[in-house]
């Protein structure tokens, strides 16, 4: 591992800092590459950016997605059944990155391992990708990826969970570059009725453990939840709801949802500001 003095901002972190200066949280979308087909998935991610998404997560579909609920499982399976290949996903990164927002790839670990960790990092960087989110790779197992992401100047986003110990929060915060991904609840991806208190507590604890930027995912699906989470987190990550919107209503559905969520995120800090700044978790500023 490299020394602790390395700059941890990265490209997603830089975008989050800009937005923080502008007084709001980031809206982050997730869509799997190749769903419903490669071309549409690229168009959908670009449409999301044009409608107000600040950072894009592009999913690399995997055969055994243990962190995902039924909506994203089905989308990933459809992408694989349609013949989506890792090389094509890297090409899709390039096409989506052209829309102007930082693009990170969300992937289970085996496809990266199989491609070759350093080769994947090299090709992701040359496609204009900003980094990786790795839901089944904890920093303890990530030596090779930490070296490769340093070598190719990529963000590395690990997850923390409500069950993470203070020691693990600190260790994970140190290992991340860009932001820390806080899984709002114990469970898999999917639309939920409420995000719950655990998320806010986790963001608070993760900042307390040294993280500069914390974004919240799992279960956020509507503008009200986005506003609620945007009041205390640096970014609001929405996945299954985007997949459903694309599946049900196509690109228009994605545009509509992105616009609604962006409005929710925009009003979150305004609401928080009128309630004074107490409790918004901006302790690091």
């Amino acid at each position: 591992m490299t020394g602790s003095a390395v700059d941890q901002t990265g490209r997603t972190g830089a975008r989050l800092e800009e937005l923080r200066a502008a007084g709001r949280a980031a809206l982050i979308s997730f869509l799997p590459a190749g769903f419903p087909d490669l071309e549409t998935s690229v168009a959908a991610a670009r449409a999301a950016v044009e409608a107000g998404v600040d950072i894009v997560e592009l999913g690399l579909p995997y055969s055994d997605p243990v962190m995902d609920g039924p909506v994203i499982q089905r989308a990933a399976q459809q992408a694989l059944d349609g013949g989506t290949r890792t090389k094509q996903v890297l090409h899709a990164v390039e096409q989506v990155a052209a829309a102007g927002a930082p693009v990170v790839v969300m992937t289970y670990w085996n496809p990266v391992l199989r491609y070759g960790v350093d080769a994947f990092a090299r090709d992701l960087a040359s496609a204009g990708g900003a980094g990786l989110i790795t839901p089944d790779l904890v920093p303890d197992e990530a030596g090779e990826w930490i070296a490769a992401s340093d070598a190719h100047d990529l963000d590395r986003i690990f997850l923390v969970a409500p069950s993470s110990s203070p020691e693990r929060l600190a260790m994970t915060a140190r290992a991340c570059r860009g932001f820390v991904y806080a899984a709002s609840t114990m469970g898999v991806t999917g639309v939920r009725a409420s995000v719950g208190d655990a998320a806010q507590r986790l963001v608070h604890d993760t900042r307390g453990a040294g993280a500069e930027r914390v974004c919240v995912g799992l279960g956020v699906s509507n503008p009200e939840q986005a506003a609620e989470v945007g009041a205390y987190a640096d970014g609001v990550i929405v996945g299954s709801a985007f997949v459903k919107a694309l599946d049900d209503r196509g690109l228009d559905g994605v545009t509509q949802l992105a616009g609604d969520l962006a409005a929710g995120v925009a009003r979150s800090r305004a609401a928080a500001a009128t309630n004074s700044t107490a409790g918004t978790g901006k302790a690091s500023e």
Partner: protein, 437 residues
């Protein structure tokens, strides 16, 4: 006397205890914890609880008592001379795990983990099952120890092992057919992991094999190594010497590691694992992940697995539901890469021929999984000759496989099979019914 490819002769000078003393999380480059962060605390808790329990005489005594009064341990050793006539006259001894309560070696591990579940204060167990053996054993232990039990089983497997679905429901377990992916064991594990991450505060994932994230490979091995410890003593008592080879089938690998472990530091004992060769290794339709030899990460551990060029898991194929898994436990990957154990594929046909032979010559109906080990013994006996002594783990009994075998050998008339199919169709495996029976 040598065994081609066994590797046993490649490292003849192991220090006593050296190989037996391997602990997780890593076995060489294999193993580890490739899981969501949300599960790390539960794995740490399990690791701590298991180590404390293993060092606690009261826990060990309780497990021993259950094995003596409930499982039926020690399991016996049976010599099979009429079967051995087809194996070049080698002397063959079977370790009869098929005679355990619930019909396989799975109960050894299940009772240990069920006691740990109580010790951790958890009230619910979940499990994956392929052939249904582990699911039945888990449902049994849950009934015995008053735990809520949910078993995930690939829909394809619920169809080919309908009788075991019924068994689990009779025992009070909720059996959930998994309809995603290949609808077999790997998908059942995915679904169990999703359940676990959601319900981890109340729930223990009672994993049935030596795969998965640390501490499962080491812990399950420790609960299964009783097989080899008993067998080693029994073979010495009976013959005055160690066997030339120990054979076992390997899917995830728990019965194999269970019988191998006591022999790891006996360099003159060859350890031979038989993987499911399906239609034949060269056809690509098989479950021989070690023979295929590609490293990757699946279900929380780095090991060998069947995967395509992009690291997507490939579907495995085997007549035996219990071996139909595209991965293998990390300790096996390590034993294979160091050469201490040999791994060979056995086709469906060869396994079924050995199945038939054991039925006809010894009056023992083996599980189709275990028939792979028997096929390996026929081949190894012919290689080693009449002076050789082979120990085979008969890991399970074949009652659950009667329908599959009847179809394979055509021992029922078409009218009988129609009747059998109608009975299977009437079983409400899709509805989750029957759990409140």
């Amino acid at each position: 006397m040598t065994i081609a490819g066994s590797g046993a002769r490649q490292q003849p000078q192991q220090q006593p205890g050296h190989l037996r003393d391997q602990h997780g999380p890593y076995f060489g480059q294999f193993g580890g914890r490739f899981v969501p962060e949300a599960l790390i605390r539960a794995l740490d808790e399990l690791d701590t609880c298991y180590r404390q329990a293993w060092a606690d005489e009261a826990f060990r005594a309780e497990l021993d008592r259950l094995h003596a009064t409930y499982t039926g341990r020690p399991s016996i050793l049976t010599e099979v001379p009429r079967f051995a006539e087809h194996a070049g006259g080698a002397r063959i001894l079977l370790k009869r795990e098929d005679l355990n309560h619930t019909g396989s070696h799975k109960i050894n591990n299940v009772l240990g983990q069920a006691l740990l579940t109580k010790r951790m204060g958890k009230t619910r167990v979940i499990a994956e099952t392929g052939a249904g053996q582990h699911g039945v054993a888990t449902a049994t232990a849950a009934a015995l120890l008053d735990l809520e039990c949910v078993v995930y089983m690939g829909e394809h497997d619920t169809e080919r092992q309908a009788l075991n679905v019924a068994r689990m429901r009779l025992l009070g377990a909720d059996v959930i057919p998994v309809k995603t992916g290949s609808r077999t064991l790997k998908d059942a594990i995915n679904e169990a992991l999703r359940d676990w991450v959601t319900n981890v505060d109340t729930t223990h994932y009672l994993m049935g094999t030596v795969a998965g994230p640390h501490p499962f490979p080491e812990m399950v091995r420790d609960f299964q190594k009783v097989i080899g410890e008993e067998a080693r003593g029994q073979v010495l008592d009976l013959t005055g010497r160690l066997p030339d080879a120990v054979l076992a089938c390997v899917g995830g690998g728990s019965n194999a590691i269970g019988i191998f472990h006591a022999f790891l530091d006996d360099p003159d004992v060859a350890l031979i694992s038989l993987e499911a060769g399906g239609d034949g290794f060269d056809t690509g339709r098989h479950a021989s992940s070690i023979t295929a030899g590609q490293t990757g990460v699946l279900h929380g551990a780095k090991s060998f697995l069947l995967q395509d060029e992009d690291g997507q898991t490939l579907e495995s194929h085997s007549i035996s539901a219990g071996l139909d898994y595209p991965g293998v436990g990390p300790e096996h990957a390590w034993l294979a890469s160091t050469g201490r154990a040999a791994y060979r594929p056995v086709t469906d046909s060869a396994a079924m021929e050995a199945f038939r032979l054991l039925c006809r010559t010894e009056g023992i109906i083996p599980a189709i999984e275990s028939a792979h080990a028997l096929a390996g013994a026929l081949e190894t006996g012919r290689e080693l000759g009449p002076d050789s002594l082979l120990l085979v783990n008969l890991s399970g009994r074949g009652d659950k496989d009667v329908d599959t075998a009847a179809r394979w050998f055509g021992v029922l008339s078409d009218a009988d099979l129609v009747q059998s199919a109608a009975t299977a169709a009437a079983t409400p495996v899709d509805e989750g019914e029957g759990a409140g029976w």
